[in-house]
């Protein structure tokens, strides 16, 4: 890690005790040491007892601001580069009360998962592949104490997508049925996703047969096609969906496919990179590609 836990904790204690912020949104120990969960700390006492910062802090804290920024007084939040994009995107969508947030930018060179391995999302970190990453719209950015242990992303984040695109439709169908058949509709991906913040989710419809136990392969497909479509153009590629999936379904491959298509068809776009650009699906040009373009692209013709 590039910032020591002591330094971060003392910074947060300083903010709380000086009264500049009323609450802190950070991480606390979950079931295990390696299983940290987001938590709100209301006092220095709570912070000292519960706050944990180590290399298992993969959780993206920005989504919790939707509710947390509505209270009285400011809330301090710790944003890693991947979380920063989600924070900006949520602001653009007017889901966060920005005046109530004290955003602290935290340089990061990778976090680990419960298995002790570097998180998959950290291998394609955007802060490393950019020329000079700078935090967007943060009230304070902490200086790194140690240089980053890696200087560039290990793999290009669209490599796996391109590999799937090169397969035949039958191979792709088999691959995805294999993956999606494990879905138990726990809805963890939806619950953790910062882009999935609808107060009434389309999948919470009580008229649907069920929104939990999956009865047919169609429902597994439906949930993932529709959810990835709903976040298309707004997904910041924070990687949380794949991280929390209990069945280890590579959900990031669905979202990255949309990103790749948007980059190819409508120009390079990164959600949450700034506060002005319109999301690709709420924008158009008169010269957009026709839908028939997909007949010419993609995998082998049959």
């Amino acid at each position: 890690m590039q910032i020591s836990a002591e330094r971060l904790t003392s910074k947060l204690k300083e903010l709380l005790s000086s009264g500049e912020v009323a609450r802190v949104l950070g991480w606390q120990k979950g079931e295990f040491e390696e299983d940290l969960t987001p938590a709100v700390f209301e006092s220095v006492d709570e912070l000292e007892k519960g706050f944990v910062f180590n290399e298992y802090c993969g959780a993206n804290l920005s989504k919790y601001l939707i509710k947390a920024s509505k209270g009285e007084g400011k809330i301090a939040v710790i944003l890693k580069p991947c979380d920063n994009y989600s924070f900006v995107q949520l602001q653009k969508e007017h889901r966060i009360n920005r005046e109530n947030v004290y955003a602290i930018g935290l340089p990061c060179d990778g976090m680990k998962g419960i298995d002790g391995e570097k998180l998959a999302k950290c291998k394609t970190c955007k802060s490393l592949s950019e020329e000079a990453f700078s935090f967007i719209d943060c009230d304070e950015v902490l200086e790194a104490e140690t240089p980053a242990s890696c200087t560039s992303a290990e793999i290009d984040r669209f490599d796996e997508v391109a590999k799937l695109e090169a397969m035949t439709p039958e191979e792709r169908y088999e691959f995805w049925q294999n993956e999606l058949s494990r879905c138990i509709r726990c809805n963890a991906c939806r619950n953790v996703c910062p882009a999935c913040s609808c107060e009434k989710c389309v999948f919470d419809n009580p008229d649907l047969a069920r929104n939990k136990a999956v009865a047919d392969s169609f429902e597994e497909n439906l949930f993932h096609v529709i959810r990835s479509f709903h976040v298309a153009g707004r997904c910041t590629d924070c990687g949380e969906c794949s991280r929390v999936c209990p069945e280890h379904i590579p959900l990031h491959l669905l979202n990255r496919k949309y990103m790749k298509d948007i980059n190819d068809l409508y120009g390079d776009f990164q959600a949450g990179a700034d506060l002005e650009t319109r999301a690709p699906l709420t924008d158009f040009t008169k010269e957009d590609a026709e839908p028939s373009v997909i007949y010419e692209r993609g995998g082998n013709e049959q």
């Binding site: 439709p169 047919d216 169609f218 096609v225 479509f229 669905l254 409508y266 040009t285 957009d288 993609g298």
Partner: protein, 159 residues
């Protein structure tokens, strides 16, 4: 009624399969175009079911997936030509949406010829009939929709 061999055979005999095609047509251009093809007595297959929507932009990706779930073998969206949308810009958004959605369906291995977008104006009755005939032929060649089917929506014996 006597149960004899002829009766039993007749009840289990399956008719030759024809595809079920759902056509979402925008109210202002393509639905009028469909109407015109009818007025001109241009025939297109009876298994094309038209669903009228106010604008092609109204088409939610859920509709397409639900159509496949409930037995459609092909789904086509017809709208005004880009630039001529009755609501000025609806079909521009629909164009982006459908391109991305169809690309995702292809990525999941669903045959890309099962979905299509066609811009048909109110004066293009002939084009509407031709498009529907072509699409029905394509879907007949592709066969029944298996990859996006839902067994719960299938009846035990097709009549």
């Amino acid at each position: 009624m006597q149960i004899n061999e002829n009766n039993v055979n007749a009840s289990v005999e399956k008719k030759e399969w024809v595809p079920t095609i759902v056509a979402f047509c925008c109210n202002w251009c393509s639905y009028a175009g469909a109407d015109l093809s009818g007025t001109n007595r241009l025939s297109y297959p009876a298994n094309v079911k038209i669903i009228r929507i106010p604008c092609s932009c109204r088409l939610n990706p859920m509709f397409i997936l639900r159509a496949f779930q409930r037995g459609a073998d092909g789904v086509i969206l017809c709208g005004c030509h880009p630039g001529d949308c009755h609501y000025t810009t609806g079909n521009y958004y629909a164009r982006r949406r459908m391109t991305l959605l169809f690309s995702m369906l292809d990525y999941l291995g669903i045959e890309k010829e099962r979905t299509r977008v066609e811009w048909v104006s109110a004066a293009e009755g002939a084009k509407f009939a031709k498009t529907m005939n072509e699409f029905a032929e394509t879907i007949t060649k592709l066969g029944e929709n298996r990859r996006l089917e839902d067994l719960r929506c299938k009846s035990a014996l097709k009549d």
